[in-house]
């Protein structure tokens, strides 16, 4: 899957299939601080993400 982390303006590729929660855990991102967008649609972190997903991790935190 293709992942874009907005806060760090970082792009990365992962060859795996997992839920959003598992992905965030691996990236050490607190799920309460972000929104997940998959192929331009908001998805819940509990949702399964396939290998060909296009994920955006949007930060909800303002400042600092």
């Amino acid at each position: 899957m293709n992942i874009y982390i907005e806060k760090e303006n970082k792009q990365l590729e992962l060859d795996k299939e997992c839920t959003g929660l598992e992905l965030l855990k691996e990236l050490k991102i607190n799920p309460t601080t972000v929104l997940l967008v998959n192929n331009n649609e908001v998805v819940l972190p509990e949702e399964k993400l396939s290998k060909d997903s296009n994920i955006k991790i949007l930060s909800v935190v303002s400042g600092g």
């Binding site: 967008v37 908001v42 819940l44 400042g63 600092g64």
Partner: protein, 309 residues
Amino acid sequence: MKCHKCDQKAVYKNQGLLLCKNHFLDYFEAKVFKTIKKYKMFSNEDTVCIAASGGKDSLAVLYMTSQYCKKYNINHFALAIDEGIAGYRDHTIEDLKEFCERYDIRLEIISFKEKFGSTLDQVREKALKEYNKKPCTVCGILRRTYLNRYALKLNATKLVTGHNLDDESQSFLMNTLLGNMRHNASLGPITGLTTNDKFVPRVKPLYFISEQETRLFCLLKEFKVDFTECPNIGLSFRANVRDQLNEIENKFPGAKNGMVNAFLEILPTLKEKYKETKPFSYCEKCGEPCTGKVCNACLLEEQLVVRKI
């Protein structure tokens, strides 16, 4: 996962509640409107001034407040303060103009340049070098003063700000960690009601809304939000408290909400205890209420602005 109210895919989950896009938007609106009503934030005898900056909280509160005011026929307008921060405020002000045009909201812009005599950029170095004042200190004092002053001049009887559940729980925790309960007494969904007729009471319609909900709302409404940060930002204590609180929220969902509700229970006692008893004095220069001889804003003007005669 499906929405609890229909067959659509859920985009929002909050302690067991699942909602699709449309039902989340309804829920968001209902939550904000309920807060406005519960605390009697404004009615159709008010003129409502909405402090706007162009950030996500400000757009969400601006949109919701103007929806509410249009529904109940209440006079309202947006007020933006342009501090003069190149590469940041100039962008958000442009976005704000577009937004207000699109949603037919009257917008007033007050600039430091015009009212103070200098932009924040112009006085930043002098403030730091000669007076050891950080840009955020200068910015905060002037912004607070001008919001109140021009809201009043434009006949507003209420000033709406975009403070949300995260801001409030952070402030409460910060004040508590510093042992400063007096500052906690000036938090809450509505402040400044009884202090002085030269202060416009401030209200916070997003009081029970989290940042996550606000961002989702702005995203689903396709608001154009600029996420550029102010180059002066220096929030280390707040940022620290915020990160810790988010950790707690992740482990104990609903913690921020619980904390703010607990705070609301003790707020009346705090307000009573820290009630201003001594009469206000008024600034010798601008006539606004203050604690010393001249107010902080006038003091800054004396110190920092070089007036061309």
